[in-house]
């Protein structure tokens, strides 16, 4: 695997593989191995985000790629982080739910604010995945029809039925894009 170079890369032992990627604007380089803090080749991105980097805003529900709870934005696309191996993430740019706030002002992303204003959640466990999925979708389709929003979110599992309020929240942001 090709890796990008960084200062930390010079400290690792010869022959050791490492993975470098950016999460929420912060660059990380992690060695591949079995020691604490290292990345096993079997680790999923969701595991690395939560257990190694402490970014627990990304939720794991099914861990089978079927529910959308673990969605993160990778290079502009929403991906299921439970179905991506961390060793495959070299050179990628990742945004998690923790990274949506404006880094300078701390202001909520307009979509996060819309979820707050519409109480577009109940238990909240699926919410980070919903917001991430909707954010990546709106970035590509700033003025979608409601049916397109429903289609975009149809892989996101929610049992409280926050769907109706989520659609209102997403559409309120979409309209602002007009």
């Amino acid at each position: 695997m090709q890796t990008t170079t960084s200062d930390s890369a010079t400290r690792k032992a010869p022959g050791t593989r490492s993975v470098g990627f950016t999460v929420n604007g912060q660059r990380y380089r992690l060695n591949v191995g079995t020691e604490v803090g290292e990345i096993s080749p079997a680790h999923t991105l969701s595991h690395t985000l939560r257990e190694t980097l402490g970014l627990t805003g990304t939720k794991v529900s099914c861990d089978q790629g079927a529910c959308g709870a673990c969605a993160v934005i990778m290079d502009g696309k929403a991906v299921l982080s439970c179905k991506v191996l961390t060793v495959e993430c070299d050179g990628t740019n990742i945004t998690t739910i923790e990274g949506l706030r404006d880094p300078k002002t701390g202001a909520l992303d307009p979509l996060q604010q819309a979820f707050v204003d519409h109480t577009a959640f109940q238990c909240g466990y699926c919410t980070p995945g919903m917001i991430i999925t909707a954010r990546a979708f709106l970035d590509e389709n700033p003025n979608p029809a409601e049916e397109e929003v429903k289609e975009a979110l149809s892989g996101n599992f929610c049992r409280c039925i926050s769907h109706y309020q989520v659609i209102k929240a997403v559409m309120s942001v979409a309209r602002k894009g007009e």
Partner: protein
């Protein structure tokens, strides 16, 4: 309506809103524990087997493994109702039953160790359904329960715990009837509510007999009470709750995963985390009870019920935790919807070799009613009666009454819900759409639409005790001490809102303690419909108690009687004389005020929900499409408009209305394996398939609540499934009596499929 509140009924940002949308809110698996070990469960591949031998030596030898425990290591810890289910046993009773526990440095090592445990099973014959379980000579799930029938009643509801309803004289009642209908009707598919957050626990044992358990249940104080008994009343238990990623009742039954973590921590001296995989969540965690009534109902031509007779069979799977309690509450709930002078309704709780059942959205009533309404529908059809009118007529009215869970009769002193039902029918357009029984509302080629209606009410709004403290600080702030874990209803924010209203300080000035039994007084948990009436009343009265104590301190300073005082924004003043005031600040930094209250159960009130549904059935494919849902209710006073909207929308998914359309766990009837224990094969409703949804919410004040409100979130879903069955039957023109109404069942009802093709359907 018309009341001038500062916070009640106003749109308000939930206190945890920013935390939820930024990922900062912590659910149990988000917490960090020093020195943590990971626990895993070895599960049985057989539905019924004796464990003749377990060799754990290879697993124990794996580097990183800290403990491997089998039934021989279980210190007789037992749970269930009756308390006959060992945490680990020498016999397994369903595919997925716990055989051994492993604690290891990582999850991967623990998983690897499971594969190294060698078990010799002696496979036994098994029973998977009510009929085979009660057959003479059937294999016994427990040797001590002949006929696989569990003892009825639960000690939790006292010595006269309701096991059915017997009153009047049913034979006289049937003699008075103009029409009689009878038959067997079930609601036997086994949906899983499947909250997105997995089920888990972390435990830390401290010798000799203390354990702290961090759980995923929404009722942490009841976890403590349950575990106290599971651990044979010899262990000091502290439980701590967190944000809960959905429960729908199911996570009340977390004692097993908690006991696994505790047993492993006891063996290792380190904190141990056990979280179920999705497959375990779906195949080894709470399912709905199977419900079937063999019954007879008598009715007069005007819809007056004259007699209800029958046996309610309840399949609880391999053990019961709350099932007898659900039978008690469910029987009472049937009385609430079916005013009738003559009853002979009995119950039989059956145990079978499948995963256990418990609370899944409903608490008995939904399950019984979804079986009973199809029977009632036959009577209504015979009498040519509009089901809306019959359901409205027979729902409990002021002056009426019912037996409730403790076996006592309660005179109903709530409101008449008929206006809410009428308004719902009007919004839905029931009168225009209703064309008679087994008659579609419209036919468009192969597509037919049909309508159905259901009703539900629950007198659990005031069930069980709740205690709360409210502390006032001199800085004009208050703290609520309450053992409440936010599980999605937004009630923690609403308790702050209600205290804000009592004390007239902004909700932002109100904090809440963690749900920690070391800190808070007793609280039963947000179960049933009790959150708004029972729990909130304790919180409100604790705030009132604190306010009273504040006024006692302020009165001499103001030269007034405490009764003459009022407070707002951290200032006490004489009513009508705001210039005669005294600031909370004057309490001084070294004094706080503590109010306390306890809510005592009150079963004289109930809530009500009527569901109207419209479905479209494709008679060529058998596909049922839910077009529209209208819910009608009266909440007394809306506390939280957005939260209420969410709760009502929740009627469809998570084993709700969709349990009539496609949601079910599919059991292999020969091996007992669950065939769809993953989120791809288990059907769930997506954004792309949402029905039109409307809510009719009236506000007729409930006099006995400080803010005149009752909760309705629990029952949003309850009347829906039977309404779907009714609607589909009307659409296709013949009766469908099995849930869910799969394309296969629809086509079979239409005579387009032979019985031979009924593979996989129950």
């Amino acid at each position: 309506m018309g009341r001038d509140y500062r916070y009640i009924g106003k749109p308000m940002q939930r206190k945890d809103a920013v935390g939820i949308v930024t990922g900062a809110v912590q659910y149990l698996d988000d917490l960090k524990f020093q020195n943590l070990l990971h626990g895993k469960v070895l599960r049985s591949p057989h539905a019924h087997a004796r464990i003749n031998k377990i060799d754990k030596s290879k697993a124990e030898a794996l580097p990183g493994v800290k403990a491997v425990l089998t039934w021989e290591d279980n210190p007789d810890w037992r749970g269930g109702t009756p308390r006959n289910v060992p945490v680990l046993d020498s016999k397994v009773r369903y595919v997925g039953d716990a055989v051994a526990l492993v604690a290891a440095a990582t999850e991967d090592i623990a998983d690897e160790a499971l594969d190294l445990i060698e078990v010799e099973y002696e496979v036994l014959p098994a029973v998977f359904d009510i009929d085979s379980a009660v057959k003479p000579g059937a294999p016994l799930v427990y040797d001590q329960f002949p006929g696989n029938v569990l003892p009825g009643g639960t000690i939790a509801f006292g010595p006269s715990s309701l096991k059915g309803v017997v009153m009047g004289d049913v034979e006289n009642g049937f003699a008075d009837a103009d029409v009689v209908a009878q038959g067997a009707f079930g609601y036997e598919n086994l949906p899983n509510a499947l909250p997105p957050e997995p089920v888990g626990a972390v435990a830390l044992w401290e010798e000799p007999n203390r354990v702290t358990v961090w759980g995923t249940s929404q009722a942490p104080y009841m976890d403590k009470a349950t575990l106290f008994h599971v651990f044979n009343r010899q262990v000091e238990v502290r439980t701590i709750g967190h944000h809960v990623g959905g429960s729908f009742g199911t996570k009340v039954m977390c004692w097993q995963v908690q006991a696994y973590a505790a047993l492993l921590s006891r063996a290792t001296g380190r904190p141990v985390k056990v979280f179920f995989t999705k497959e375990e969540h779906m195949a080894a965690f709470t399912l709905r009870i199977g419900s079937r009534i063999h019954g007879r109902v008598g009715m007069k031509k005007d819809g007056t019920l004259t007699a209800i007779q029958g046996t309610w069979y309840v399949d609880t799977g391999y053990y019961s935790f709350t099932t007898q309690a659900q039978v008690a509450v469910g029987s009472g709930e049937l009385m609430i919807m079916a005013r009738c002078p003559n009853w002979d309704l009995r119950s039989v709780v059956v145990t079978t070799n499948r995963n256990a059942s418990g609370i899944t959205r409903g608490f008995g009533g939904q399950e019984l009613k979804c079986s009973f309404i199809p029977l009632l529908s036959l009577a209504m059809e015979k009498a040519c009666l509009d089901p809306f009118e019959v359901l409205k007529k027979n729902f409990v009215k002021p002056g009426g009454g019912y037996y409730w869970r403790d076996g006592n009769w309660y005179q109903y002193r709530g409101i008449d819900y008929s206006p809410a039902m009428d308004k719902g029918a009007e919004v839905f357009g029931w009168k225009e759409k209703w064309k008679g029984w087994l008659t579609p509302t419209a036919v468009n080629g192969t597509r037919r639409t049909g309508i159905g209606v259901g009703v539900h009410g629950n007198a659990d709004v005031g069930e069980d005790t709740a205690e709360a403290y409210v502390k006032l600080d001199n800085n004009g702030a208050a703290t609520i001490f309450l053992c409440a874990a936010e599980h999605g209803t937004g009630q923690k924010s609403n308790y702050a809102r209600m205290v804000a209203e009592v004390l007239q300080i902004p909700p932002e000035r109100i904090s809440m303690t963690p749900a920690d039994t070391l800190v808070t007084p007793f609280e039963f948990g947000p179960v049933g419909s009790r959150g708004t009436y029972a729990i909130a009343s304790a919180v409100i009265n604790a705030a009132e108690d604190a306010k009273r104590k504040l006024f006692e301190i302020a009165a001499p300073k103001l030269g007034a009687d405490p009764q003459e005082l009022e407070t707002a924004d951290g200032v006490v003043f004489v009513k009508g004389h705001p210039e005669r005031s005294w600031k909370w600040k004057a309490l001084g930094f070294d004094r706080t005020i503590l109010g306390w209250a306890r809510f005592e159960p009150d079963f004289t009130l109930c809530n009500c929900m009527m569901s109207f549904v419209e479905v479209e059935v494709d008679t060529e494919t058998g596909q049922v499409n839910l077009l529209r849902v209208v819910l009608a209710t009266d909440v007394g006073q809306i506390i939280d408009p957005q939260g209420l909207e969410g709760q009502l929308n929740g009627c469809i998914g998570s084993a709700g209305i969709d349990s009539a359309i496609f949601e079910e766990t599919v059991l292999n009837p020969r091996s007992g394996h669950i065939l769809n224990a993953n989120l791809i094969d288990y059907k769930w409703r997506t954004f792309a398939d949402l029905p039109a949804m409307e809510h009719v919410v009236l506000e007729t004040p409930i006099p006995t609540h400080r803010f005149h409100a009752v909760g309705v979130g629990e029952i949003a879903t309850s009347p829906g499934p039977s309404a779907v069955l009714m609607a589909v039957s009307n659409a296709v023109g013949c009766w469908l009596h099995e849930y869910p109404v799969t394309p296969q069942r629809v086509l079979r009802a239409l005579g387009k499929l032979g019985n031979a093709t009924n593979v996989g359907a129950r």
